[in-house]
Symmetry: none
Subunit: 401 residues, 2 copies
Amino acid sequence: MNTLELMKQISRPSPSKIVLLVLDGLGGLPSPETGKTELETARTPNLDNLASLGICGLCDPVAPGITPGSAPGHAALFGYDPLTSDFGRGVLEAVGIDFELQPEDVAARGNFCTVDKAGLITDRRAGRIPTEKSTELCQLLDKQVIEDVEIIVRPVREHRFAVVFRGDGLSPELPDSDPQQVGAAPLTITPLESAAGKMAHVASQFVDKAKSILDGRKPANMILLRGFSQRPQFPTMSEIYKLKPAAIATYPMYRGLARLVGMDVLETGTSIEDEFTTLAKNYGDYDFFFLHVKATDSSGEDGDFDRKVRIIEQVDNVLPQLTGLQPDVIVVTSDHSTPAMLKGHSWHPAPVLLYSRWCRTDKVTEFSESACILGGLGRIPSMQIMPLAMANALKLTKFGA
Amino acid sequence: MNTLELMKQISRPSPSKIVLLVLDGLGGLPSPETGKTELETARTPNLDNLASLGICGLCDPVAPGITPGSAPGHAALFGYDPLTSDFGRGVLEAVGIDFELQPEDVAARGNFCTVDKAGLITDRRAGRIPTEKSTELCQLLDKQVIEDVEIIVRPVREHRFAVVFRGDGLSPELPDSDPQQVGAAPLTITPLESAAGKMAHVASQFVDKAKSILDGRKPANMILLRGFSQRPQFPTMSEIYKLKPAAIATYPMYRGLARLVGMDVLETGTSIEDEFTTLAKNYGDYDFFFLHVKATDSSGEDGDFDRKVRIIEQVDNVLPQLTGLQPDVIVVTSDHSTPAMLKGHSWHPAPVLLYSRWCRTDKVTEFSESACILGGLGRIPSMQIMPLAMANALKLTKFGA
């Protein structure tokens, strides 16, 4: 029995409420000047107070040493095993632009690329063409119908686009057409299982058509497809935890991930303050809230230590709006670390803070990486956070006689 | 290879001795007045001294967030995976009243219940009839023989009883007759595999007979059966660890669990002092002792913080009798937490203390939840305690070349 099956067996509905506040990429590394991380530099009286009342620790999204992408990082926070819960690259690309993927749709990630006269790839990304250019090219490819399959093409960013195949009897069991190297020809799309015959045929025809439509065009004259996939068949968070879950996120990727695990996605604005207001406004209608703050990660990716500090302080400043609602359980954590010093996601464990009336508090009085090392949660896999939140909300029954 | 297989491979007999002292439900939550848990409130100079000399930590019986019953909690302490080691509900009911279950016996848990004239259940527990009444009814049902199968019926507590089917060719692969709801009729017992045909036939006839024997009686006129099971086929602790293990416990359930993993169960009295005397008296005859103290759990279940404190102090007071025997390894821990504040088992990790000459001690000088957070064992699954005890007793050889 894995953890999800166990959760399914022992979880029960109750009126208690859980708020999972995810500060994307929160964990950091010390500035060489001060020896303090972004979180340790920020003035965070409200988070520190919550840490004093709650229990803290460090969590590994996937495993020690593993730097996760957003999908496994969030899968783990929602309680799914990040190593076995594959959302599908094409699916993530589609939901990442707020595309409403239907259960039978097959999605793929596309690249605009360049090929030479012999058809060999000269640039897999067509010089990272600007999004506006890519949008124009997508319009040329969009809305085709091959056999009875509707093909929807949407720009993502720069050379990247999402393509969705909608029709009956489609299987995603196809190989990538992207050989992942220059000097090679795009690969033929042949079915990996017999049921994928129709899909392979349609995808191949689509690539051929794209080639003729783009022929002679600049800056891209060909496409590459990869990550054919359908919506994952994971049990939803309602099925597992008997929760009525809602997501608040300003970035489409996170709304998409939340939708894939069955959350209602709430309309919100573009600022952190908007998100907290959305939480307050919808607080009566759900018993689980995933509130996602993106800017901690973006500033980390940009290597902007000071901006990341300011954003953490901004979150701390609005935190009383959340605590004032008096949720039974509050978790503040991160899907992974994004140290400004590294300008990217990293493998460092993320700080985690859990507050509830029943949490058996520890001696940590400050929400920071170095304080969390000594916290009562110890160092746990991130996928154990949901069971802990559920337990502290008194939503789990006893296991075994 | 799982942990038990590994243990089987690398364990070897030796004269060193291990004492596993389990204070059932020891872990607690702070009193709101003092901010201290039961264990932190208790005056425990001897346990604190042992903590100073030993190494401490926190252990999760099943996994973070999971509240275990007694069976999975103890399975983990004996080194068995609590998620896959199912003792069987019927078996636990039988061993829980000190019934000597034979390997081929099939045991089930029974409820006395009431049904209306149409045979539909009106109360699954017959108003939780007193144990004395239940004992009378059990005598009416006991000692039947159906085909060549002997049927033994024993009262447990209130409406609960254990029934044991003894005969040749019995399989436990039967569904429950208990539909777990009122207004429904008891379910027909049909075999879940072809080998269970005889058992299904006998069980059905037993239920029919019980119905006619109880017909018109009060306060119960029918029975419900569930959890048909046979003694689990786990390897014994002797097979795994090459130990000669003995159990000392005042409550039948824990004697039963110990018997199921192959321990000798020693005769003892009813007090904590009796148990420690039994340990001293039998110390020469075994190399592993499981000493179980129940009252820490019972007082926690009753929500009696002060009584739990006193019982911990009582244990501390007799501890020198144990340490005076100079076992090579002493482990003091718990099968789960039972905070008086929650009046029941909980998910909070249990404190664990391991003393041996070779334990690489830490800086913990007090046996308490908050001190154990900073202990050298960290936060570990309870099923890792036995390998640690075995290692510290120098009973494990090197793994791999």
